[in-house]
């Protein structure tokens, strides 16, 4: 396959990094999965331009990225509406869009959600580190030498011209998740819900929580009514493994939703966001409000099958590459 230079970074924006599905199987070495936070938008972006669904994309946070195309290339922008423009004119999101050599793509600022995903037809040519191209920003490896994009970076892709025929392919409007300022997250109680009082659990399930500014890819910090733990249990527990979506409650009673940059923790978890709602966590930003709703395991699996059904339906409906 021919590797072709496809983009030059004109401005990196607030925080743009290379992410794929994530790095799995290394948790026992303390290595977090990283990966695209809104995995649904990420997978759809890849499918739109004819990539394997787990190919590396750009994860763009809030605003400011500007790229220049170095050749004719197919791209797709999904996820948050950051007012993506091509040559300063609005660009259709959730669509395979063809850029000519010298065309620019820029992200002017937030209208809804938090993170956009930009897939390039032919992917991003980078070596895998421990099985993934995802950037581990805190330990500085993967992606572009473990760092966010910077001005002057050149991105290359494999055989981008093979992907031009996806141009115009569009993801069904009805299947695009809403990105409002209020998020209702479905949770399953546990693993340590037995160590909170009934009042504590009621508070958690019945109160709105505000997203605090010191949230990042490691966790979403929330502020709101204090969640009461049982008086006989201590503030921390013996450290154990954690997954993204689990909601830990430190001594101050203010919940933190764990995301993808950590693998162990020493606080009690009252509940865990269901897999089908994890993509929404990538679109939560400081100032938003979240509420939690308890569901059953059956509800969780039904929601997951429904989400996978949308991906599968789209996959089967679009033309595949030779």
């Amino acid at each position: 396959m021919a590797t072709v230079e496809t983009f030059e970074v004109v401005a990196p924006g607030l925080l743009t990094s290379v992410q794929d599905k994530g790095r799995f199987g290394y948790g026992r070495f303390g290595v977090a999965p990283s990966g695209a936070l809104d995995s649904f938008s990420f997978r759809v972006a890849n499918l739109l331009v004819g990539n394997p669904e787990n190919e590396a994309c750009l994860e763009i946070t809030l605003m400011g990225l500007k790229l220049k195309a170095l050749t004719v290339v197919a791209i797709a922008v999904t996820g948050a509406d950051l007012q993506a423009c091509s040559n300063d004119k609005p660009l259709d999101m959730w669509t395979s869009w063809i850029l000519g050599k010298g065309d620019t793509v820029s992200f002017r600022g937030l209208k809804g959600g938090c993170r956009s995903y930009l897939a390039i037809g032919g992917g991003i040519s980078l070596p895998e580190v421990m099985g993934s191209k995802s950037t581990n920003l805190s330990s500085k490896f993967g992606g572009l030498d473990g760092r966010p994009l910077q001005k002057g970076d050149i991105l290359s892709s494999n055989s981008p011209y093979l992907h031009l025929k996806t141009g115009g392919s569009t993801f069904p409007q009805a299947w695009i998740p809403p990105y409002g300022k209020e998020r209702h997250l479905r949770v399953i109680l546990g693993p340590q819900d037995d160590q909170f009082t009934e009042k504590g659990k009621k508070t958690f399930l019945g109160s709105p929580y505000q997203v605090s500014p010191d949230s990042d890819r490691t966790g979403i910090r929330l502020t709101g009514p204090m969640i009461e733990r049982r008086p006989e249990v201590s503030e921390s527990i013996i450290s154990e493994g954690v997954i993204s979506g689990t909601i830990q409650v430190p001594g101050d009673g203010q919940p933190i939703i764990i995301l993808v940059e950590t693998v162990t923790g020493g606080y009690r978890k009252i509940a865990t966001v269901i897999t089908a709602d994890l993509p929404l966590l990538g679109q939560v930003k400081p100032g938003d409000t979240v509420t939690f709703k308890q569901v059953s395991l059956d509800d969780a699996y039904e929601a997951l099958r429904e989400m996978e059904g949308r991906i599968k339906g789209f996959k089967e409906g679009i033309s595949t590459l030779p």
Binding site: G25, R28, G30, S138, F141, P191, E240, T264, L297
Partner: protein, 228 residues
């Protein structure tokens, strides 16, 4: 103490924590490792990841491929024969450390706290063979225990925001090594020139769960000239 029966704590719809006991002990930790190795040697279809820690395992699975009831049955089968499962002997690793001064800014404080000399703190810290109980927090970050009783120290009242990589620190009955610069609430006794994490090596970490660790005092000159 070991639980009579394994305790399962579901974490959401795609993972379960299997708890083996109620405390930090070498026996429970060894059993955790036996389970982890046995499960990884013959992974069930849909098993994504196993994270062994002090007294429990986190098992992450793909719920569309692996049914949690089947997973629990597999663990219960293992539990019946766990005593007989042979696991490789852990390795012993010597960690060179330059103690005190700018490398160990809390050495003097710890000595004063225990009313002993800094030299005695170093002797105590280097005079014990420790066990790695788990790797976590950041890549390659080992949780090592148990400190000699005479070195058991409460955590710092104010955590540091930037602990240099390689720092060797203590709190409660544990000692740790920081692989990357990170915040930390432990007392820093010294620093090692060894690299604890390298994403391009296999395995990527110097230490693994159950390894034996000894600390060796070195001079500042040796630290500076250590091949890196």
């Amino acid at each position: 103490m070991f639980y009579q029966k394994l305790l399962y704590r579901s974490m959401g719809d795609r993972s379960v924590i299997v708890e083996l006991g109620d405390q930090i002990s070498p026996e429970i930790n060894r059993r955790v490792r036996q389970f982890a190795i046995a499960l990884m040697e013959d992974p069930a279809e849909g098993l994504v990841e196993i994270i062994p820690t002090y007294r429990s395992l986190l098992i992450i699975y793909d719920p569309l491929k692996l049914n949690v009831v089947r997973l629990k049955n597999r663990i219960e089968d293992l539990q019946k024969q766990i005593e007989g499962i042979q696991i490789p002997e852990p390795k012993t690793v010597e960690i060179p450390v330059v103690y005190g001064g700018e490398y160990g800014p809390d050495l003097e404080w710890v000595a004063r706290y225990h009313k002993i000399s800094p030299e005695e703190v170093i002797q105590l810290h280097t005079g014990t063979t420790y066990q790695v109980y788990m790797i976590g927090f950041t890549p390659g970050h080992p949780y090592i225990a148990e400190l000699p009783k005479a070195l058991i120290t409460p955590r710092r009242e104010t955590p540091r925001t930037n602990v240099p990589h390689g720092s060797v620190a203590i709190a409660k009955n544990q000692t740790v090594i920081y692989p990357v610069e990170s915040p930390g609430g432990l007392h820093i006794l010294g620093r090692t020139p060894l690299k604890l994490f390298d994403p391009f090596q296999s395995p990527p970490t110097l230490l693994e769960m159950a390894d034996w660790v000894r600390f060796l005092p070195i001079e500042e000159e040796e630290f500076k000239q250590w091949p890196r």
